[in-house]
Subunit: 123 residues, 2 copies
């Protein structure tokens, strides 16, 4: 099967940013979808286009809770991306427009493995 | 707002397991939902009940792609959980029944922060 959409395996050491977020809903009194798709896509493109970018994966459930993990070759690459992203966000109405709460982590990947189970042999 | 569903902030250093997975669909010739909910819930409970468990967050989109991040106080705690999980999985029909592909990473959290933007002050 295709493994597109996954972060993929990369030489160690490498690093990642984990961004967990709860999108606002109509109950929060915000226009939840207004401009969000465009903003999110821009942030992804900003990540993908940078030196040191390795891969990205993202999932958001029907209740608006999402996790995005972006993999990088170095902490310097993350710092450069972060500075650029913050600069660009500062030029917008800010992420409070879209998120009710978010958590962001910078991590070092210590071990990684992938598996594509054989559908014909469930064990 | 409530921050339930988030991993939460914890003293550094700490660690995490990132589990990214694509669930099988009916197109893969598998009974995608058969028993899955029960299995997933058991794995979560297995994580939550263990020494060293700090927090867990999880999102899966409508296409069946999901990311779960489980936070731990030590690598020893992760190793103990992993051995237990593998033992329990070995007693079942295996995860090939549910997943078309998955990637698993063990990481060290280097930095973490959280924000609850003020809805009344979008900047």
């Amino acid at each position: 099967m295709s493994t597109s959409g996954f972060g993929g395996l990369h030489p160690l050491p490498h690093y990642a940013v984990i961004f967990s977020s709860q999108r606002r809903t109509a109950n929060d009194g915000a226009a939840a979808d207004d401009g969000y798709g465009d903003m999110a896509e821009r942030m992804v493109r900003l990540c993908e286009g940078r030196p040191g970018f390795l891969g990205i994966e993202s999932a958001r459930d029907a209740a608006g809770f999402g996790i995005t993990v972006c993999y990088w070759s170095s902490l310097d690459a993350i710092a450069a991306w972060k500075a650029d992203a913050e600069h660009r966000i500062a030029q917008t109405e800010g992420i409070a427009r879209w998120y009710a709460h978010y958590e962001l982590r910078v991590v070092q990947v210590l071990k990684a493995y992938a598996m594509t189970p054989d559908a014909a042999s469930p064990r």
